[in-house]
Each structure stands twice: as C-alpha cells, then as structure tokens.
C-alpha cells in the first residue's frame, strides 16, 4: 500500500476534516429509493423515503457520511478544489478507517449510510478498485446492511463498476457540466464519452437485474436505488433551456432517478471561470430544481417551460406560475370537475393536494374553505381556480394583473445569505411614491370633478 505512505501519521480527525471538506461540493446525497428490512443478524436497514439525520448550517441535509476516499487527484479540473495544481492538504483513508467510521456513526444513528467518492489516484481503474475493496469490506466483514452510495469513476474498467454495482444501493456518475464544450474548457482530463459510457452500463445493468429478479427472487440486487448524476450550474455559459433539456434527456434516455444541480461555488482563481460577485447562483439553482420537479412529477415537458426565445427562467415567478400566466386560455380550472393532470398545473396545487382534492370531491362539492384545509396555497391558486363556478375574489384573468399580484407578496422566500430578495425595478413602483390624499382632493372627487 505504498500510496498510503504519506498519510499514515495523520490522525483520523484530520483526515476526516480534509476529506469532508473535499467532498462537500458533491450534492447527490440522499438516502432514498430503497426499502430494505433488517436481516436480524447484522446492522442496518433502508427506508424508501430516505432519512435526514441532521442539517448543517447551510440548511442542507446530512444523511450520509459524505467523504472522499482520497483527495490526491491527478486531474486538473478548473472548478474543483482538489485539482492537482492546488496547494491543499491531501489525505487518503484506509478502507478500514472508512468502515469503522461508518459503523460507529451508524450505530449512534448519526447517519443513514455511506457516500463514497474519490479523487483519481494513479488512474481511474485503480481508484475504482479501491472503492470496490472498501465497500466489499464494509458489506462482508463489517456486515453493514444500510445505505451505500458510490461514485462510478468515468474511465474505470467496466467489470469493476459491475461488481461494485452489486454491493451498493445507488451509483452515480457526475456529468459535471451540462455540455461537452463546457467540459472541454473546464475539465481537460474528462470526456463526455467517458462519462456517458458507465452511465449506460449501469442503466443496462439495472435492466438485466430486473429480469433476473423476476426469475430468481433472491438474486443479488444491482444498484437497487437507481442512479443519479449532478451538474454544476453557472460555471459555463449554458442557458437554463439547455440545462433542463439535458436533464430531460437524462431522465428519458438514461432513466436516471435524480439529476442534481449544484450552484457553482468559486473556490479557485482561474481565467476560465466566471466572476460571481453575488455569491453562488442560488436562485437559479432553486428554479432549476423547481423545473426538475415539474418534469418528474407534474407531467411537464422541457419545451413547455422554456424555448429558444426565452432561454432563462423568470426571476420573479416560479416556473409553474410562469407557465400558467402564459397559458391563461386554460384557466380558470373548476376544482370540482378538472382532471388530475389539469389540477397539477394549477400554481399552489401540489401532487399531494391534487390527490386529496380528487378523493375529497367524491364526498361532496368543495369550497375554498375546504381547499384551504386540504393544503392548497390559495394566495397563489386563487387567480386560476373556481369552486362550483365561482372565483374566490373578483379577479381579472389578465397576465399583467396576475403577475403583479403574485409578486407583491411580502413573504416570498428569501434568497441569498444576507436575506436580500430579488425585485424587478419599474418606473411605477408601488409604495415608493405615495403621498397622502389631501382634503381638497377628497372634496373634489366627492363632487365628481376628479
């Protein structure tokens, strides 16, 4: 184990610090998708909804022990903190250290399982083999039965990826950047082809495994939780339209479970990287996640949300509101009669509330008060729905009017670390130029002269 020679004298605490620091920009860290009961002999089970064990002070969920096996990377990706030209402390875990940490944390219910990624040590195949050996040890020597998510290393030997797939619950290959050009400029050692190959391999593996499981119920599961990927948003000049199209085709052609978006955090100085004076593009990331949900659960197509002529999401409105105000011919929707698909398209109605509406209206006509109890967000929905043919308030079905009302709410989600909200400026900003009505004006208007 000569590659370990430098890291041997470092304490476990130091290693954990360095390798957590190095892994924190990975976002694909959920523990969902697998339901597995405990086997009564070893530690661990899985819950299909996933479990969040803690939340860090950036509000992100801590579910898995998210670490790199090593940050001694030979690649030089410009956006990455671990690139070989950076002067950062380097460390490598031994497989035993990873296993002990996982087991001890898991016993205390700190974590739901392990998320293991790695910088490229020597070459991709060698790195993948180290990951495989670590997971093999965890499963077979430490008898860990909880959730394991590993990164498949692009360019690694297919056989190794296959064998690892039988040990883990989820695998992911990072797409890194949405387009091949982006990858060429920022990650000179990575190639689109190498990234898509293991993705396809895992997809095929899952398919074959499904057939096996039909025949032999106890056949080993191959990546039971499906595969995921992530891409960095805002490091390269792709538009939102390009990004959600990439996401859509990943869902359709590669049958991914999730695509994660990670707002670009500038950790290196490089002439090819954009300057981000306002911090990471968090609002953009948020809009992309909203659109992602619309693609997966609400029956929207990417082409409905954006097109060539408007390639970016609206800053003020979420993608669903944006779609709704541009398709006012479909509204208002009658809550007591509309189809499930149409209910899903109403802003303020989610998957759960749409299901509840369908169930509840079998028992009787629903009113606006009932909708409130069911959990519909009326302040957003009221412009688009009727109950028994009536709207909640007399409102106009006009794009400008609705947009104005949807965006003047005080309690919109606050973005940015300083609590700043984004607001479109206009000449006629309401509120800013108000002066009280004078007595004389009141008199004039009373007699109809004003």
């Amino acid at each position: 184990m000569e590659w370990l020679a430098t890291g041997m004298e470092m304490s476990l605490m130091d290693k954990l610090g360095i390798l957590t620091d190095a892994a924190k920009y990975d976002v694909a860290c959920t523990s969902s998708g697998v339901e597995r009961k405990g086997n009564g002999r070893s530690i661990g089970n899985c819950v299909s909804g996933g479990i969040c064990h803690s939340f860090s002070s950036d509000g992100r969920c801590i579910s898995l022990l998210k670490i790199l096996l090593s940050n001694e990377c030979i690649y030089d990706c410009k956006y990455c903190i671990n690139r070989c030209s950076n002067d950062v402390p380097r460390a490598t875990f031994t497989p035993e250290e990873v296993c002990t940490l996982t087991m001890e944390f898991y016993r205390r219910n700190y974590i739901e399982g392990l998320f293991l990624s790695s910088g490229i040590i020597q070459n991709p195949t060698f790195t993948m083999e180290l990951i495989y050996r670590t997971i093999w040890l965890l499963r077979n020597k430490y008898h860990f039965n909880g959730y394991v998510h590993v990164k498949a290393i692009p360019g690694a030997d297919g056989e190794l990826i296959q064998r690892t797939g039988y040990l883990v619950d989820r695998m992911s290959v990072n797409l890194e950047l949405p387009t091949a050009e982006g990858l060429r400029t920022l990650a000179p050692n990575k190639h689109r082809k190498n990234i898509l190959a293991p993705m396809r391999q895992i997809q095929n593996g899952i398919h074959e495994n499904k057939n096996e499981l039909v025949l032999y119920r106890n056949a080993p599961r191959f990546v039971g939780g499906g595969q995921a990927t992530q891409m960095i948003i805002g490091a390269t000049p792709e538009t939102d339209y390009q990004i959600i199209n990439v996401a859509e085709s990943l869902y359709q052609k590669f049958e991914l479970k999730r695509v994660f978006y990670s707002a670009f955090v500038k950790v290196n100085e490089d002439k090819n990287l954009p300057a981000l004076p306002g911090g990471p593009p968090l609002l953009r990331e948020h809009r992309l996640y909203q659109a992602d949900w619309l693609l997966r659960f609400y029956g929207f197509a990417a082409s409905e949300l954006l097109d060539e002529s408007r390639p970016y999401f609206n800053v003020m409105l979420d993608p669903k509101e944006d779609w709704a105000v541009r398709h006012l011919e479909k509204f208002p929707v009658e809550i007591n009669r509309a189809s499930y698909e149409m209910l899903l398209r109403v802003p303020g109605v989610g998957v759960k509330s749409a299901r509840r509406i369908i169930a509840a209206r079998r028992c009787g006509n629903l009113t606006f008060a009932d909708l409130k109890k069911i959990g519909v967000v009326l302040k957003r929905a009221l412009y688009f729905i009727t109950c028994s043919g009536r709207m909640m308030y007399p409102t106009k079905l006009e794009e400008d009017y609705i947009v104005r009302n949807l965006t003047t709410e005080k309690d919109r989600i606050q973005f940015g670390s300083d609590g700043m909200t984004y607001k479109q400026m206009s000449l006629f900003d309401d509120g800013s130029f108000q002066r009280p009505v004078t007595m004389q004006e009141k008199l004039l208007s009373a007699v109809g002269q004003m």
Partner: protein, 253 residues
C-alpha cells in the same frame, strides 16, 4: 347528550367506541372524552378499559378500512390534542355507517372531524419521521446504546420497531423524557416498553463509554466541515431542524 369518559390510551378510547355501539348510541349526540370536561344536560358514563373490547374494535377497523388507515388512526390517537378521541370516534362512526373502501376512511377532508384526525395523524407521522433521523444514541460503559427524546406526541411505540429492525444485534434503550417512558431492546430479542417508575437506573450506569466522546467529537467536526460557507442559511436550517430537537443531539451540544 352522553359523554363516555375513558383513559387517554389507545385501548381506552377503542373500548369507549365499543361501548357506544353496545349502547346503540346516536353518533351525533355522543361524545368520547379523555378529560373531565363538563357539559350541560349531559349524561356521564365512565369507561372501564377492556383489552378484549378494544381488540374487537381494532379488528373491525382493520377489516373495514385496511391496515394503512388503522395506522393513521393510531397516529392520531397518540397525539397530545385532547379533542382526538372525539374526532376519531366521529370518523370511525361515519366510515362504518356507509360503504367505505379500505384506504379511503380519511378521504373526506371537508369534514371537520376527518380533517382533524388527518392533520393529527400527519403531525405525529412527521414527528416520527423526524425522530427516526434525529434520535442520537450514546454508548454507555456497559455497551448499551442509550438515547433520550422529548417528543410532543407519544411516538416511542412507533419508533421502537424501526430501531429494533435497524439494530437487531444491539442492546439499546430509548427514554422518552416527557412521559417518563422507556423503550428497551435486548439484543436478538423483542423490544418492550417500561414505565419510568419501574425502571431503576443508578447515575453511574448512565456513564458513557471511553470511545463515545471521541465519536461525538468526530461527528461534530464532520458537521462543521460539511458546511459550504457561501451558502450559509441558518433560517433554512432552523425550519428543517427545529430547535426543540437540538437539545438531544450530540452535534449541537
């Protein structure tokens, strides 16, 4: 009006429901109460908790409405809301009075009782899901894993099967501080609940093991390191992880 007064437990309330049917009550003019509330012109009937009667009601509920809805009723019944007994009674009586397919007992959310049961069940379920993640075990010198929780609703009985499934080979114990209730799981055996009065624990037996502090420190360090400073958002953290859970969690000590 008739008011059935029963004890605040699953068995107590199910027994009361059995009694209302035994006495052929009009469901619109009957009330099940778990405290000593008083009404004008009401007839008070005390209910003696009877496990057999409760089981009969449970079986009927399971048969007519299915396991899933039975579980949701149980979730509603361990809530801390005093109105829960009446709401569950109304809901069950309404479901029994008409054709109701399994899984559809709580469909009619426009009905106030059904809605209350639904939201209580959801609140309890949420707390249960939270505690599945936020419960923290500490290793004692005896090797037993010990956790302390303080939930709003009485979710310990739901939490135990989850952890018993997860840690079958561990001796562990969860202490519900608010109700002074212990859930005990001996390795390889079935779990059980104990009332605090029956448990004798010496101060010294709760001393943590030698390695324990080291792992707490490691995890605390991990939680600090995983943060992306550029994304710091304490408000989001607080809404995802309410402060009331934090006093029991190692990483916030």
């Amino acid at each position: 009006m008739r008011v059935y007064q029963c004890e605040d437990s699953l068995e107590g309330i199910f027994t009361a429901i059995y009694n209302t049917y035994e006495d052929n009550c009009d469901r619109m003019d009957t009330r099940i109460s778990i405290n000593d509330e008083l009404f004008l012109f009401a007839e008070y009937i005390p209910v003696e908790t009877d496990v057999d009667k409760a089981l009969k009601v449970i079986n009927t509920i399971k048969r007519r409405f299915g396991e899933e809805d039975y579980k949701r009723l149980c979730f509603a019944l361990v809530s801390r809301e005093p109105e829960k007994a009446q709401a569950v009674y109304r809901t069950v009586a309404k479901g029994l009075s008409k054709e109701c397919r399994p899984g559809h007992l709580l469909d009619d959310l426009a009905d106030d009782s059904v809605n209350l049961v639904f939201s209580l069940a959801r609140a309890t379920n949420n707390e249960y899901l939270h505690l599945m993640g936020f419960t923290r075990f500490a290793e004692l010198q005896s090797g037993i894993l010990y956790a302390k929780i303080g939930p709003k609703n009485d979710v310990l009985a739901f939490l135990m099967p989850h952890f018993a499934d997860r840690f079958p080979i561990e001796n562990f114990m969860i202490h519900d501080e608010k109700r002074n209730l212990y859930g005990v799981h001996p390795a390889g055996k079935d779990w059980y609940l104990m009332r605090g009065e029956d448990v004798e624990l010496a101060e010294s037996s709760l001393r943590v093991s030698d390695g324990e502090m080291e792992y707490q420190e490691l995890f605390k360090y991990f939680c600090g390191k995983i943060v992306i400073e550029e994304r710091r958002n304490l408000e989001l953290q607080r809404s995802m992880l309410p402060l009331r859970f934090r006093e029991y969690m190692a990483e916030f000590k």
